[in-house]
Amino acid sequence: MPSGANAPIIKMDGVEKRFGNFAALDNVSLDVAEGERVVVCGPSGSGKSTLIRCVNALENHDKGAITVDGVLLDRSSQSLDAVKAATGMVFQQFNLFPHISVLDNLTLGPIRARGFSKSDAQAHAMTYLERVKIPEQAEKFPRQLSGGQQQRVAIARALAMEPRIMLFDEPTSALDPEMISEVLDVMSELANSGMTMIVVTHEMGFARQVADQMVFMDQGKIVEMAKPEAFFTAPKSNRAADFLRKILHH
């Protein structure tokens, strides 16, 4: 079922996810409009990563409904394939395929899952490597690149699948401080291009600059949702205020 003109591209309704007795997501509801940039923050273990991992079906939710790009995630292989195609994911630890070159990292998905020919996939991949400003690294292996370069390759790999939504799971947390900005710059450019994004991050400067919506989570619940200006200047909940105080003054 295609999404309507004003329907959210991601709709989470009363979503619950448990790991044993631990509620990683507890009655979470969130709508993301097409082109919207949502930044999710909160203390560790608050369910931020689980939230985006449920959106692209890396985790199966236990209760509630998740609709992505008009497809209700119901554990069927059709819905799984549709959601995988609609979303791109960037991981904290990059998760590049270490045994193949940068170029092959970018062409594997398009060739195997999208039916691109090798030459088309390579040309397509190079445009994305140029977009993240490392076309000269195409023939290298991931281990030969810096952390920042690896994460940019990971972003290009996700973009090469031409997703409608990009999910970022703490993309700069594993990086040395001097490499964070090169990754955030690429993400900012992507945000400016109109891509729908959900970003889990502690980079509050980036959040303030690009977010349309801030989501603050704690103990598996969405505690606060606000525009960045309101969230940073006058958080409504004590927990958000406490979190911001700690993260902005550490």
């Binding site: 995988k84 630890q93 395929f97 594997l108 195997r112 899952a113 999208r114 990971a154």
Partner: protein, 245 residues
């Protein structure tokens, strides 16, 4: 090992023991040379049998390993049952059963070579399955997640992402299984496979010099296995250098 060779050589050359009579395998005499050629003629069969069996056992081992990685209990039970049963049967018993029992059961005829391959491969496949399972489980979960996120299906994920990395890690272990297979191939002599051990047995029956002939047999296996072991070690060094690079 080098010392052992030296000791045996010294023993033979010096002729210090009256119980050793090396004429039976002395390359300087026609009989000795013919006997040596006869003994060595089993080498190609030993190698062919072992290499074929290891290839087949790797394929079976991989197929058995995959259900062992499933999150579903009944798939894991298939893997565990196979591994437990196959590991519990002695190789010699399996060789006899495959050669004498299987043809009756399945209504087929099977050559000595293929009976040996099937028995050795089945027996080794349980160990290969465990090696594969450990190798595949050693690959970071993030690799599966990355494959998922670029829309790869299960087969493509295993083929292009997981197995190439896992196989690289388990190559030394697979090499060790080849060494094990070379040794176990000697058991196929009991059903008449003309490999190294069978050739030695046949020569002993005609020459009545078991000590000398079996000493040569020991040396044949030693040389063969030392060469393969060195190859495995070289592989291990290359792998660890690759990892460190």
């Amino acid at each position: 090992m080098t010392r052992l060779f030296a000791a045996i050589a010294l023993l033979g050359l010096s002729g210090c023991s009256s119980s050793l009579q090396w004429y039976v395998v002395n390359p300087n005499t026609t009989t000795g040379w013919n006997n040596l050629k006869f003994l060595l003629s089993g080498l190609q069969h030993t190698i062919l049998l072992s290499v074929t069996a290891i290839v087949v056992s790797i394929v079976i081992g991989l197929l058995v390993a995959l259900p062992g990685l499933s999150t579903r209990r009944h798939w894991r039970a298939v893997n565990q049952t196979y591994v437990e049963i196959v590991r519990a049967v002695p190789i010699l018993v399996l060789i006899l059963w495959v050669y004498y029992g299987l043809p009756t059961l399945a209504g087929i005829s099977i050559s000595v070579f293929w009976a040996g391959v099937v028995a050795l491969a089945l027996s080794d496949s349980a160990f290969e399955a465990e090696i594969f399972r450990a190798g595949i489980q050693s690959i970071d979960k993030g690799q599966y997640e990355a494959a998922h996120s670029v829309s790869l299906n299960y087969v493509d994920t295993m083929r292009f992402v997981i197995l190439p990395q896992a196989i690289k890690r388990i190559l030394p272990a697979l090499g060790n299984q080849l060494v094990y297979m070379l040794k176990m191939s000697s058991l196929v002599s009991v059903i008449g496979m003309q490999e190294l051990t069978r050739k030695a047995n046949e020569l002993v029956v005609t020459e009545y010099r078991p000590l000398e002939i079996y000493t040569i047999l020991v040396l044949e296996y030693l040389v063969l296995i030392l060469i393969v072991s060195q190859g495995v070690r070289w592989l291990e060094r290359r792998m660890s250098a690759d990892e460190a690079r």
